[in-house]
């Protein structure tokens, strides 16, 4: 899905003024939807948002500045095809005046922390190869570019599948089968994704 991170004209604020809040209920949903609708070019139905925040409310976070919602991250986690317990970052948005100040990093970090504590083995997402901001952000957090997906987006741009592997207690015994994404680039969301 989509990630946005660009450096543009900035709002003046101190990092301590940003309040990070976990998804708390229906009253947060319109805030998230407005942010994502405003900043990202893809149309998502309300069911898409509900799918994420209802089933995994503990993985979605919002950033507030003086009562205004300025950023959000929306994620999920679950058993993947080869029974790997995996987190997925679906949407990440910070409005333009607030970018470049680490808010996105903080949002993502909180979500990944919860994933780790919930027993996820890895975290994954897709990002456009041209999205330098997102690639730098996730790179700093320890994600690698696991694969390049040719013409993943409908406008013809390639994507990287980014993956973060948490340290495992017993590396030698892990029976990794990397089959899951290789038969087709169609993750659960790719079907959704390709039409967005």
């Amino acid at each position: 899905m989509e990630q946005v991170q660009e450096k543009q004209r900035k709002e003046e604020f101190d990092a301590s003024e940003i309040e990070y809040v976990s998804y708390g209920g229906e009253h947060h949903l319109p805030l998230i939807m407005n942010l994502v609708d405003q900043e990202l070019s893809e149309p998502y139905s309300i069911f898409t948002y509900r799918y994420f925040v209802y089933l995994w409310p503990q993985l979605s976070f919002m950033a507030f500045h003086k009562g205004k919602c300025v950023g959000t991250v929306v994620c999920k986690m679950g058993d993947h095809r080869d029974s790997k317990f995996r987190g997925y970052i679906a949407m990440l948005v910070v409005i333009k005046p607030y970018r470049g100040r680490g808010i996105a990093t903080e949002l993502v970090t909180r979500s990944i922390q919860v994933m780790m504590e919930s027993g996820c083995e890895e975290v994954t997402l897709e990002a456009e190869v041209t999205n330098e901001g997102a690639l730098a952000l996730y790179g700093r957090l320890g994600f690698i570019r696991a694969k390049r997906l040719f013409r993943y987006y409908l406008n013809g741009v390639d994507a990287f599948r980014l993956k973060l592997l948490f340290p495992q207690p017993e590396m030698a015994d892990r029976d990794d089968t990397q089959n899951h994404d290789d038969h087709s680039p169609r993750e659960e969301y790719s079907e959704l994704h390709r039409h967005l």
């Binding site: 209920g25 229906e26 949903l29 149309p43 998502y44 139905s45 069911f47 898409t48 509900r50 799918y51 209802y54 089933l55 970090t109 990944i112 780790m116 190869v129 790179g139 700093r140 957090l141 320890g142 690698i144 570019r145 696991a146 694969k147 390049r148 997906l149 040719f150 013409r151 993943y152 409908l154 406008n155 013809g156 390639d158 990287f160 993956k163 973060l164 592997l165 948490f166 340290p167 590396m171 990794d176 990397q178 089959n179 290789d182 087709s184 680039p185 659960e188 079907e191 959704l192 390709r194 039409h195 967005l196």
Partner: protein
């Protein structure tokens, strides 16, 4: 038409029939009940955010059921036309386009040009339905029958699209490009299309006569030969005739290129080259016609917008991007941008150039030469249509080029003589499997880099598995009697050769997997060290196996059987290292040099290290090399070995054992052996360049001191696609 009136018109056309009564009569098996009151109550009681969901309709299903902006699924989407027929009724594609023959000709040329732009856009990865078949003239073949030029051209376009779709389907490795072959609901099999070339020829001949007629001086014109001119303005006759002729001829020759290249066993390649040359020549004429066409459109020769999809700059008549959105197979709802006319021509020039390279390949039965050719071909990042043609040439009927049985190719590659072909052991199941694995590898090597790399990583397991099987067989064969030393055990000898070759091939695939990661930008600079380290380890094994293959003679008693435990650097001291091995040694030195330099910088400066809150370099190592590790390529290599090899690296030691200088030296020495190989000569020159630059950079770093704050070191791919050049800047 503004949105409101479009909507109204659309609604009027599709107004539901309100006049039917609300009660539907019951039948034997059904009783209808009005659920409106129930729904009303439920709606009043449901609060914001509450959902009704059934056992089989969870949130995931609810989300996936909605397809926004796809008119087949999203009934709210307003399209200008609900169907092709409606569009035609509305006058989208008039036949003839104009009663004024000059305007008619102009418009047809615009249609031809826009179709070329659409075709190139399709090749570049968009759907046929949204590109070429956005032309209403193509979609209703019966309408154009009265207009010879338009009709024959439409037929040729449909026939070409069908041919190309078939070729791509046959190759079956277009996974990520699967939009390409979707043609459900599109008229690709129209009766009569197979006659397109003869119809086109007739039209071409006619226009040629018209051209001759307008060029002949009045005095020489005989009344009997008077034919009706193409269009009504005499001054423009020559220009329009020529503009049309080059377009028709390009189409004709392009059809021939496709059919020649499809002839089995590469029999049509030489003729294909002639047609390719004609295509390129006609494309030149097409480009040149732009001046004339633009002048007559606007009265000027200015370039106009770069985005224009026709030579004249006018918009072509008869196209609607959403023409097929309601009827065809999944068409992405987003509208797409058609390539500009100039870019389309560039695309076809590029495609023809790549097809020409394929056609000029001498169909060498040497697998080594073929692999080098394919790797070289892929460097230019050719598009799908070109790659598919390469694949279909390489693998036909399970044979190389349809000519050489794959087993014979393997035998030759393993440096066994053809005599071996008669040996019984080759009938074994694992040799059949080996053949299939090789064919699979060849197909994969023809795909786009991203997909190719993933598949290469996967097949490493297959190569490892077949190696194990062959090794078991070898042990069995050599266990029966102790006849290896006197060369009587031919089976064991054959297996031994094959085993060495399989290992060499496995390491070659592993090395390709690693270096493609650079081309695909999968490695961040903080990961270069481990990648170059792993690459050097793989290249060392590759060189070992290759050298072993070359020195183990042909299954005879004179088998040396020396296990090369020496590193390739030691081997360099022996006389007469085969040039191919030296080539690899040069690369090994570069890889080692880069790995150690990066390690030294990291150790001394703690730069390029990215302390991540969630994991360490160990996890990233495991992820990048997972597929190699799983296939034990190589054995006993792990993250601890990487740390061991690099944790003591210092700039001073790197300078002492200057790998870059060694690489330079080897490159210089081996240059003369590759004089007849332009590709490898070119690469050697570049490797030498990189080695030289890096050697100098290393000395600067050493002299200034790695800790000097004014020093800025970066690793850039300015000379070679995967061996970085060390760039040192002083601020």
């Amino acid at each position: 038409m503004d949105w409101k009136s479009t909507e109204q018109a659309s609604m009027e056309r599709h107004a539901p029939n309100h006049s039917s009564s609300s009660s539907i009569p019951a039948t034997e098996n059904t009783v209808w009940a009005d659920a409106s009151p129930l729904l009303d109550t439920v709606c009043k009681e449901l609060r914001d955010g509450e959902l009704i969901h059934g056992d089989n309709f969870n949130l995931y299903a609810a989300m996936s059921a909605l397809e926004i902006m796809d008119p087949k699924m999203d009934s709210g989407i307003i399209n200008k036309y609900a169907s092709v027929d409606e569009a035609i009724e509305d006058g989208l594609a008039p036949v003839p386009i104009s009663i004024d023959k000059t305007v008619d000709v102009q418009c047809i040329i615009d249609i031809i040009d826009h179709l070329l732009a659409c075709e190139a856009t399709w090749h570049k990865g968009h759907s046929l339905a949204q590109t070429v078949f956005s032309c209403a003239y193509l979609v209703r073949p019966e309408r154009t029958l009265s207009h010879a030029l338009l009709d024959s051209y439409c037929k040729v376009i449909r026939a070409t699209c069908k041919a190309v779709t078939t070729i791509v389907s046959d190759a079956r490795t277009h996974e990520e490009e699967d939009l390409f072959t979707m043609s459900y609901g599109l008229p690709l099999n129209v009766e009569g299309d197979e006659k397109c070339l003869s119809l086109l020829n007739a039209v071409e001949e006619n226009i040629s006569r018209q051209l001759r007629a307008c060029k002949a001086p009045l005095s020489k014109r005989k009344p009997l030969e008077d034919i009706e001119p193409l269009q009504t303005n005499f001054d423009l006759e020559e220009g329009y005739c020529k503009a049309l002729l080059c377009r028709l001829r390009f189409r004709k020759h392009f059809c021939h290129v496709l059919s020649c290249m499809r002839r089995p066993q590469g029999r049509g390649l030489e003729l294909a080259r002639k047609h390719i040359a004609s295509c390129i020549s006609e494309l030149g004429s097409i480009l040149n016609s732009a001046e004339f066409l633009m002048f007559n459109a606007y009265g000027t020769c200015e370039d106009g917008t770069e985005d224009r999809t026709t030579a004249s700059g006018r918009q072509a008549i008869g196209f609607d991007a959403n023409l097929n959105s309601r009827i065809s197979a999944p068409t992405p709802p987003r509208s797409i941008k058609i390539l500009s006319w100039k870019k389309a021509i560039k695309y076809f020039e590029n495609l023809l150039h790549h097809l020409d390279i394929i056609c000029s390949y001498p169909l060498d039965p040497s697998l080594d030469a073929l692999l080098r050719f394919v790797a070289q071909f892929q460097k230019a990042q050719p598009d799908l249509v070109a790659r598919v043609h390469l694949q279909l040439l390489l693998v036909q009927d399970g044979k190389l080029y349809g000519r050489y049985p794959v087993l014979a190719v393997i035998i030759r590659a393993a440096r066994l003589t053809e005599v071996i072909m008669r040996h019984d052991i080759l009938k074994n199941e694992y040799f059949v499997q080996l053949g299939q694995i090789v064919i699979n590898m060849l197909k994969i090597l023809c795909t786009n880099a991203a997909w190719q790399r993933r598949k290469l990583g996967k097949i490493l397991q297959d190569w490892r598995a077949i190696y194990s099987q062959l090794e078991l067989a070898f042990r069995k064969e050599s266990g029966e009697g102790s006849s290896i030393s006197n060369g009587e055990n031919a089976s064991a000898g054959i297996l031994k050769h094959i085993l060495i070759w399989v290992e060499e091939q496995t390491y070659w695939i592993a090395h390709r997997f690693l270096v493609l990661g650079f081309e695909l930008e999968l490695y961040s600079p903080s990961e270069y060290c481990m990648v170059y380290w792993y690459l050097s380890v793989v290249l060392i094994r590759l060189a070992e196996k290759k050298h072993l293959k070359m020195t183990v003679s042909d299954g005879s008693a004179k088998q040396k059987g020396k296990k090369r435990k020496d590193s390739p650097k030691d081997l360099a001291r022996e006389a007469r290292i085969p040039p191919a091995i030296s080539f690899l040694q040069c690369q090994i030195c570069l890889a080692e040099g880069l790995a150690l330099l990066l390690a030294a910088l990291r150790n001394e400066l703690i730069v390029l290290q990215s302390p991540s809150p969630f994991n360490s370099e160990h996890e990233r190592f495991l992820q990048h090399f997972e597929l190699l590790q799983k296939a034990c390529i190589p054995d006993l290599i792990s993250y601890p070995s990487f740390k061991e090899s690099t944790s003591y690296a210092r700039i001073s030691s790197v300078v002492m054992y200057n790998y870059f200088k060694d690489a330079q030296k080897i490159a210089k020495e081996v240059k003369s052996s590759f004089l007849n190989d332009p590709d490898r000569s070119a690469e050697l020159r570049i490797l030498e360049q990189v080695a030289e630059h890096n050697s100098v950079a290393l000395n600067v770093i050493s002299r200034v001191g790695a800790l000097d704050p004014s020093l800025k070191v970066s690793f850039e791919f300015i000379h070679h696609p995967y061996f970085a050049t060390v760039v040192v800047k002083r601020s």
